[in-house]
């Protein structure tokens, strides 16, 4: 069925795109309303939990100082020279400075703290350097369906896949509350979803390839505003 659905996406309609659009603009009116109203956005539960988890961080960081941080990640880590996403930055802070155990990927704690920090950047434009390794991965065909990210998200956005429009793949709202997940999830979780849809091998959470791809996608969405915590179908 999936294969059929992919085949139904006919020839490329447009090259990418003077006009960049957040996934928000592809959503139904009802789902938009959920994101727009903090009293209806379930992602706010994670933000509120994250506010409590941020307390131990207040020794070094102010909440005010977290403004704009999420708009600048992933960024190169000075020590390792590798890109580091916001979740990894939080965990590096915990292990190196606080001498605490890192939070597990996709754990409630890590998602909550990330959501709280990301919300402080809401409405601020993304400013991330390009990752060439990430771009190579974005354009590389992979998986049993032999697809690249670019084939759907550059060349066929707004076409339908299983009845819903293919978005341009701008990571403006992460971590997102995805109705399909019935919960909050990270960009890496979303990327792994796409990879499994392409029947490609999944990179493990935290893999450098995923972080490079995250960094490329954030660069590709540079100038667009952070919406975290976003709501997506």
């Amino acid at each position: 069925m999936r294969l059929l659905a992919f085949l139904l996406l006919l020839s490329p309609v447009s090259v990418f795109a003077e006009e960049r659009r957040s996934g928000y603009e592809f959503m139904s009116r009802e789902t938009r309303a959920m994101q727009d109203d903090d009293a209806a956005n379930p992602g706010m539960f994670w933000v509120l939990d994250g506010e409590g988890l941020f307390k131990p961080c207040a020794g070094c960081h102010s909440v005010e100082g977290m403004k704009g941080v999420a708009a600048r990640y992933p960024a190169r880590d000075a020590k390792s020279g590798r890109p580091m996403n916001l979740e990894q930055r939080i965990n590096a802070c915990r292990t190196d400075r606080m001498r605490e155990k890192p939070f597990a990927y996709e754990s409630r704690e890590l998602l909550s703290l990330t959501a709280f920090i990301a919300k402080q950047s809401r409405g601020m434009p993304i400013e991330v350097r390009k990752s060439d390794a990430g771009e190579a991965l974005y354009r590389q065909r992979q998986g049993q369906l032999n697809l690249s990210c670019a084939q759907c998200h550059d060349e066929r956005w707004d076409r339908k896949l299983a009845g819903t429009p293919v978005a341009q793949g701008h990571p403006t709202g992460y971590p997102i509350y995805r109705l399909e997940w019935q919960g909050l999830g990270s960009l890496q979780r979303r990327l792994r979803n796409c990879l499994s849809g392409m029947r490609a091998e999944l990179y493990p959470f935290g893999a450098p390839e995923l972080v490079e791809l995250e960094q490329y996608l954030m660069w590709r969405a540079r100038g667009m505003n952070i919406e975290s915590p976003g709501v997506r179908p």
């Binding site: 009293a39 209806a40 379930p42 939990d49 109705l179 019935q182």
Partner: protein, 107 residues
């Protein structure tokens, strides 16, 4: 997991005005039909009832079932008849019980 609830009620309303009340409760709404990757059944854990009372009088009640989404958003309308307190109660499996209140001034 924490047990939060967010309620939205207008602070002021005219007497006789129809107001919208909106509530969002933090709950996984585990259906009881799912299994773990090892095949063990995940027991049901849902909110069973939601009740809203207005100055002690019940004005809205809802029974919830396994097909209802996680973190259920319940919105309904009320006639603002007098100033006072709206009380919201959610209760469910495994001793889940959350209460929230909101004040409304009717002029």
């Amino acid at each position: 997991m924490s047990r939060r609830a967010i309620v939205t009620v207008p602070k002021r309303a005219k007497r006789g005005e129809v107001i919208e009340v909106k509530t969002l409760a933090q709950h996984a709404m585990e259906t009881g039909y799912r299994r773990t990757q090892l095949g063990a059944a995940i027991p049901r854990d849902i909110i069973r009832t939601f009740v809203c009372s207005y100055n002690g009088e019940e004005v809205f009640r809802m029974e919830l079932h396994p097909a209802i989404a996680a973190n259920p958003l319940i919105a309904f309308s009320l006639v603002a008849s007098e100033s006072g307190t709206l009380e919201f109660r959610w209760s469910g499996d495994n001793g889940y019980a959350v209460t929230e209140t909101a004040r409304i001034t009717v002029v």
